[in-house]
Symmetry: C2
Subunit: 221 residues, 2 copies
């Protein structure tokens, strides 16, 4: 793995958003990265199909609430990235134009990335982009059957808080995004920094990738 | 406690944001509320001193990254609320105009609230508003000494994941906001709903308010 801990070149990180992304899928990892940016040089881009604010409101529940986040770039004008973060959410289901554009962006940008990190059903978007073919990956446990049905070419691992295959880190549902991000920070910048971020966030980490109580809860094996 | 679980009147919830709020302080609780809104009627307002997007970027670290959230109302034009959520963050320190306005908003709106919930150093803002005087409350453990020094009239409780005093729920740092929100949902809407939200978020809850590993970590008693 590349060790960026001893150089001063900013790591260029981006998150790909779409209407109906799950707030914690994105902001759990992002909060860790915000903290990291107080210690290590970093740029952060918020990518979406347009520059209009992107809402977390679920398209499946018309009366539900949501919050809107301001993108910094469109997919069409995205800067070069070292790391792409793809959150899940109910908006990732189906094939509206903004999701098809996001999937194309994952496919086109992956060859230039140092790392791809997915959270929850974000793995379904990466799977549909084809970049998980032949690789081990995990995803949300409650939505397991729906997501793994999207792409049989992926070696889906049910019992995992997160899975690393090459430069692709996929996590289980929602909160697992915090754990995979801390594990990734530990790998790239050192475990001391990762644990200091967990501690300052008063977060009790899942530190073992293969220990997954939610696989049991949802009856997966 | 009011039980809103059996009526159809929307619960009116608002979050008070300011430049340099901590992303997870807000979006941990908000994610739980987003999920709740798929089951129970709710309105959600994002309040700030202006309608300009509010950044999570820390004012203490000029080179750090941040993301911008779109407010729905100003403090001056806030709707009536049942619940006010106040996140912490490095932007809560000091007394820029937007923080003084937020503190005044807490003070003025508290008498009409059913519940006030603070996360992390958000308790410092509530304390400065005077609404915690004579009450038991907790806050972030790493920043403990700085926050409790803001208001000696508060009965600060060091060893607590969260504290309930009357209709005020205060939590410890960052991630503890998820636990206090789930506990509050359990109280108001029932534990079954709270646990279903935790499970779907694959979140391992701290379920006991008085168990606080981070008080030990930071040497508090």
């Amino acid at each position: 793995m590349a060790d960026n801990s001893n150089n001063s070149t900013p790591l260029r990180i981006g998150v790909a958003l779409y209407p109906g992304f799950e707030a914690l899928d994105a902001f759990g990892p992002i909060n860790c990265l915000n903290d990291l940016s107080r210690m290590k040089p970093m740029t952060f881009s918020i990518l979406s199909s347009t520059l209009e604010p992107v809402s977390t409101k679920s398209p499946m529940y018309p009366d539900s609430i949501g919050q809107s986040i301001v993108p910094t770039h469109t997919f069409a004008n995205a800067p070069d990235l070292d790391v792409l973060l793809v959150p899940g959410g109910q908006g990732s289901r189906g094939s509206p134009p903004e999701i098809l554009e996001l999937i194309a962006f994952i496919r086109d940008s992956y060859p230039k990335l140092k790392y791809l990190i997915t959270v929850c059903t974000g793995a379904g978007l990466a799977a549909r982009a084809g970049v998980l073919d032949g690789k081990r990956a995990t995803t949300n446990k409650k939505s397991w059957k729906d997501i793994i049905a999207l792409r049989s070419e992926v070696n889906w691992i049910a019992r995992a808080r997160w899975v690393i295959d090459g430069n692709i880190w996929t996590s289980s549902g929602v909160s697992a995004g915090i754990d995979v991000t801390l594990a990734w920070i530990g790998e790239v910048f050192g475990e001391e920094i990762a644990q200091s971020i967990a501690d300052s966030n008063e977060y009790t980490r899942h530190t073992l990738a293969h220990v997954d109580p939610f696989a049991d809860l949802y009856g997966l094996e």
